[in-house]
């Protein structure tokens, strides 16, 4: 009986460890940023065209992408980058909420907040090499 309990505990622990390890894996950062760039451009286009539904979809996608960005920085204790990602995620959520309420003006304002946080983060953590970008710690 005791052996069975120990075996079950070990199996559960192993599943937990694998699940945690899987959850901690994230996509390469350049892929996340490329997706942010494309989605951000699409969001702008949809907001300018007053396409609230499409804009809300873009905002939801951005929210997820900024969560990924935040997860990338979390292990490094680089607080400013984590905060930029968090504020951008919150702003994307605000864009989504405003777009769903068909308030394009409010959505545009929150869009600017995303833009500002992107620019601030790039200023501190992105280095242009001429052949691509490097991520500064």
């Amino acid at each position: 009986m005791n052996r069975q309990v120990v075996f079950i505990v070990i199996v559960i622990a192993a599943v937990f460890v694998f699940a945690t390890a899987f959850a901690q894996q994230h996509r390469p950062y350049n892929q996340i940023m490329k997706d942010v760039g494309a989605t951000f451009a699409s969001l702008k286009k949809n907001l300018d065209a007053n396409s609230a539904t499409a804009a809300a979809q873009d905002a939801a996608k951005l929210e997820g992408l900024f969560a990924e960005t935040e997860a990338f920085w979390a292990p490094f204790d680089t607080q400013d980058a984590i905060s930029f990602a968090k504020r951008a995620r919150d702003a994307a959520a605000a864009v989504g909420a405003a777009a769903k309420g068909n308030d394009i003006k409010a959505a545009q304002e929150s869009y600017s907040v995303i833009q500002k946080n992107c620019a601030n983060c790039h200023f501190s953590h992105r280095e242009e090499t001429g052949k691509g970008f490097l991520i500064k710690p």
């Binding site: 994230h26 390469p28 950062y29 350049n30 892929q31 990338f72 292990p75 490094f76 204790d77 680089t78 607080q79 400013d80 501190s124 280095e127 490097l134 991520i135 500064k136 710690p137």
Partner: protein, 190 residues
């Protein structure tokens, strides 16, 4: 006569230039420049796209090549609970201090203070290195610096005037280091 005067002036200027060059290229000057170069390079590493710290180990190794195994270093407090300077004994412990700088500070910019002869010439002119031969062999150098750095975690930027005293053994390695930083001030935008 005019040609003679012009030629003399040209020769004089060339001599001054050569003397200046010799001072700039002195072994002591090179030692100071090299130490600062290695210190400032400690933030010159990157994160890979999959979140790995790349290049930090090489930079720390490169800095540590300058030190002797029995090095004694007195450095400014680098712990929130530490008030006075810290005495570090041995290369391995100095390595921990260097690693800490590499991993917690960014935009490192330690510069040699310049000076001209005049009373206010503190921002241009010569980068003076004071040096002496040590009675037990080797060379001691000292120079004034201005240290500027940002904290990696929140990008807060700091600046401090300071001085560096380094004793090199006959082996060319650093046996003693004293880094003094006074009046550490946070640099804030107006």
């Amino acid at each position: 006569m005019r040609q003679l005067i012009i030629s003399t002036l040209i020769l004089l200027l060339a001599a001054i230039q050569l003397q200046a060059q010799a001072a700039a290229d002195s072994p002591e000057q090179k030692l100071a420049e090299e130490w600062l170069k290695q210190l400032n390079a400690l933030d010159d590493w990157y994160l890979s796209v999959d979140g790995k710290e790349e290049g930090v180990e090489q930079l720390v190794n490169s800095m540590m090549d300058l030190y002797a195994p029995d090095v004694l270093a007195e450095v400014p407090p680098h712990d929130k609970d530490q008030i006075g300077p810290v005495m570090i004994r041995g290369k391995e412990n100095v390595r921990k201090w260097v690693e800490r700088i590499a991993k917690t500070q960014v935009r490192l910019n330690y510069i040699l203070k310049r000076q001209t002869e005049g009373p206010t010439g503190e921002y241009e002119g010569w980068r003076l290195i004071y040096s002496t031969k040590l009675p037990w062999g080797g060379t001691g150098i000292a120079f004034q610096i201005i240290g500027v750095w940002s904290l990696r975690e929140d990008r807060r930027r700091f600046m401090a005037p300071g001085a560096v005293f380094i004793q090199y053994g006959p082996d060319g390695k650093i046996h003693r280091l004293r880094l003094l930083l006074a009046e550490i001030d946070e640099v804030k935008p107006l």
